[in-house]
Subunit: 212 residues, 2 copies
């Protein structure tokens, strides 16, 4: 466990060094817990002003962060409290949950690529005594890998392509239809949700490998 | 969806006809919700007498059934109500939950084959105002396929072997280390837990295929 942690720290440090050449084909895997991205309008409606929120922590993708406040999701069947709000503010509000969460809330959001809000589900978002009702924006986010153009070259893949990834664990799985997302702004990381993480007996430091 | 349902019904009917020859290599997949098997001693401690319980429904494996009563599991961090009790009574009490459930309860049960209770976790089992504290018996059950010796011949596998199974869905996954369990008493069915089901976007009628 300690060995894995050290490996992970070294990898993170190396990724921050300019001109670092990728040598491993192991992809760090992160479990994305349920979260919301708020539009400026909904941020104002729920908190008065974005300035009411501070940055709690930076995320693995450069420029992305988690605010220090949280919201509650309410569906026809139940509610989920303490849901993280990720920044910066986006053009449209987007709520990313798991199938387990969808069952708790009593809604049926579709499996979607982030940003494609067509025919997604609605939900009620609550912060203190303020409420926003959205008609769309709730989705099960498709699993994906963030990578730089340099990473893409090493793996021999391109933006928008779907690949199979084997997650190494005591309960190994191969996840198919994993979306490749390439940008200079990204850092190599595979994002799966809690259902996928639990199915693979996720432990921090776990890695995946693209199989062809 | 209706077509799938009809196919499933036909398959179930055919499996009940003596001398039926398996023609498909598709394996029906069932999600096992969290449940407990009680020992006679614990059944008596919780309900006074097994005769207090009736059979609610028969399960896919011949001779297995669900009782009409339910219990609550209590761990150091939280509790889970409405947990199914499966029969018949067993030699030892065994509690099968998912990693999601384990997090809710605040315990860390190991991934185990059913029946192997060594070094498993404890939990508190509550029925009404009666309580049983078990020191072991809680596990994350290893995914497995029940099949007859005839099925095993068709698939070219044997009891105790582990295989990879591809689950066909809108979010396809390949589950590795799937245990084969062969008995004359079984009926062809793959059992996965809710985490694995959600990771594969499980829908009733879904099937899996052994890949080599």
């Amino acid at each position: 466990m300690q060995e894995e942690l050290i490996k992970q720290i070294v990898e993170k440090v190396m990724q921050n060094i300019e001109g670092y050449q990728q040598t491993s084909t192991e992809i760090p895997v992160e479990v994305s817990a349920r979260h919301v991205h708020l539009s400026k309008e909904h941020m104002t409606a729920l908190f008065g002003d974005e300035a009411q929120l501070a940055i709690l922590k930076e995320l693995s993708q450069p420029g992305q962060f988690q605010y220090d406040k949280r919201i509650t999701l309410m569906g026809p069947k139940g509610s989920i409290s303490n849901v993280a709000i990720l920044g910066p503010v986006r053009k449209d509000t987007q709520v990313e949950i798991s199938y387990t969460d969808a069952r708790t809330l009593g809604i049926s959001p579709p499996l979607r690529e982030s940003g494609n809000l067509e025919d997604t589900e609605g939900v009620m978002i609550v912060a203190g005594r303020r409420v926003v009702n959205i008609d769309k924006g709730v989705m099960i986010a498709k699993r994906h890998i963030h990578m730089t153009p340099e990473n893409a070259k090493v793996f021999g893949v391109e933006d928008g392509q779907q690949v199979k990834v084997r997650i190494k664990s005591q309960r190994p799985v191969v996840l198919e239809d994993v979306l490749i997302r390439v940008s200079e702004k990204y850092r190599l990381s595979m994002h799966i949700d809690h259902d996928e993480g639990n199915a693979a007996a996720y432990q921090p430091g776990m890695t995946g490998e693209i199989i062809k």
